[in-house]
């Protein structure tokens, strides 16, 4: 179903129906509709709400150049072999200056061009961590409601975004490449903590085994009570180790007992809510009542008021309420 039906509709409800039916054009349009949020997006998501929660959401993240896109391509093939459908959201950073982006990840997965059970969508991170999580989570909901068994989120491994993907995913996979040496040691603390599965790609590299050992010892230091984090080796180009990765994903999902799922889910919603609220504050500051805001700003600039106190005052005040 790759063509757009010529049927006109009157809004969110019909579009939602087509999405749930798996119509590709509708899915594409729905993804566009929910990208920036707003009323139409909210209406669509409400219409889809009862149909989400079925897909396994897998986040794949890591530094640039480790081979994430190739790995995702290989993983898609493996999941297809297991008769599962796959939706992919490939995220690339937006330019902070222009707001534009170059989205180049999906083509490393082009082997799947003809397969109706694979849907790949490129997403720009659109200025900021909070924004990324929200937009991604809405996109995940659309693909979830469309009936895909798996939704893979591939994110660029720069800045905070790789930690944020854990907000949206059930299982987070962190990918490294061998020979990064110091970079492995310096891997952001947060990154290691959110990983449910660690993958060392380019396993044919002679340094791969060393990197695995390094990661294992780092994990020991940060041992988690609730789960074991497997360290796997893959060679994505040669499709080696991918079956093991798919198995590890199965285990990780199964290992999410109900209590953990609920805890994670509410922690996630909390973070998303905070992100959403933060976004609203940022936006409203732009239209804030200048006199009171300026007073706060000049107090901070003069050193009379520290930033933290100023922020608390800001939240308590009328400054940012609509005129």
């Amino acid at each position: 179903m790759s063509s757009r039906p010529a049927v006109k509709s009157s809004g969110g409800a019909d579009l939602a129906a087509y999405v749930r039916g798996g119509n590709r054009a509708a899915i594409a349009k729905a993804l566009s509709a929910v990208e920036t949020g707003g009323e139409k997006s909210a209406a669509l998501l409400r219409a889809l709400h009862g149909f989400t929660g079925r897909a396994r959401v897998v986040g794949i993240t890591g530094a640039p150049g480790v081979g994430k896109s190739t790995l995702v391509g290989a993983l898609i093939a493996e999941l297809r072999k297991r008769n599962q459908s796959v939706g992919v959201i490939a995220v690339d950073p937006s330019s902070p200056i222009s707001g534009g982006a170059i989205l180049g990840d999906r083509v490393r997965m082009t082997m799947h061009a003809d397969d109706d059970s694979v849907f790949i969508r490129s997403l720009a991170s659109r200025g900021g961590t909070g924004g990324l999580s929200l937009a991604t989570s809405r996109a995940v909901d659309v693909l979830d409601a469309a009936g895909f068994d798996n939704v893979i989120i591939e994110t660029v491994g720069a800045g905070q975004s790789e930690i944020d993907v854990a907000d949206v995913a059930d299982v987070t996979v962190v990918v490294c490449a061998p020979g990064l040496g110091d970079d492995v040691q310096a891997m952001k603390a947060g990154l290691l903590e959110v990983a449910d599965v660690l993958v060392v790609n380019k396993a044919d590299d002679p340094l791969a085994a060393v990197t695995v050992k390094q990661l294992e010892s780092m994990l020991v230091l940060r041992r988690r009570a609730d789960r074991e984090v497997p360290v796997l080796k893959t060679a994505a180009r040669e499709a080696e180790g991918i079956s093991g990765l798919a198995d590890a994903l199965d285990s990780a999902i199964k290992g999410l007992d109900k209590k953990t799922r609920v805890e994670r889910s509410s922690a996630r919603v909390q973070r998303l809510l905070a992100a959403m609220a933060g976004g609203i504050v940022t936006r409203r500051l732009k239209t804030a009542r200048r006199k009171e805001l300026d007073r706060l700003l000049s107090q901070v600039a003069a050193g009379e008021l520290d930033l933290e106190s100023a922020a608390v005052e800001l939240l308590k005040s009328d400054v940012w309420r609509d005129d």
Partner: protein, 144 residues
């Protein structure tokens, strides 16, 4: 031009046929990004069916083909495939080496504009933005 008021335009920049030179398409992709657009950028040698699938799934507003040698001769085949997939209203532009005598034929086949070497940055960006804006405003575009 591409203000934060609306969802950034999504433009596919790609190559079909045999040629692999991408200096020009990379520069155009950068122009469009710097103008606030989202560019889905592919390597060369894309199959026509893959592009049709991509254009649907990515809900692109404009397609830009970078062409050298005789690859532009395949563009009418792409346009036909797009029409068959109900994507006939997605505007297509071509940039690169297109001989004068082929230009008319391409325009007649449905290509909206051809950018020869030496085309000005503003011209390229403004044209694509205008095509995208029109694409979004069309009545058929938003409905399913």
């Amino acid at each position: 031009m591409n203000t934060s008021k609306h969802r950034p335009y999504r433009v596919l920049v790609t190559k079909i046929g045999l040629d692999g030179h991408d200096r020009g398409s990379r520069i155009v992709a950068a122009y469009l990004r710097d103008a606030g657009m989202e560019v889905i950028y592919t390597p060369p040698w894309q199959e026509i069916q893959s592009l049709v699938r991509l254009a649907t799934d990515e809900d692109v507003d404009v397609i830009g083909i970078s062409s050298l040698a005789t690859d532009h001769l395949l563009v009418p085949i792409l346009l036909e495939a797009m029409r068959a997939a109900n994507l006939g209203n997605v505007p297509v532009v071509v940039g690169g080496i297109v001989p004068d005598e082929d230009e008319q034929a391409l325009l007649l086949a449905g290509v909206r504009r051809i950018f020869h070497p030496g085309s000005a940055r503003e011209d390229i960006v403004d044209t694509i933005a205008a095509l995208a804006a029109k694409m979004r405003d069309e009545p058929g575009a938003e409905s399913i």
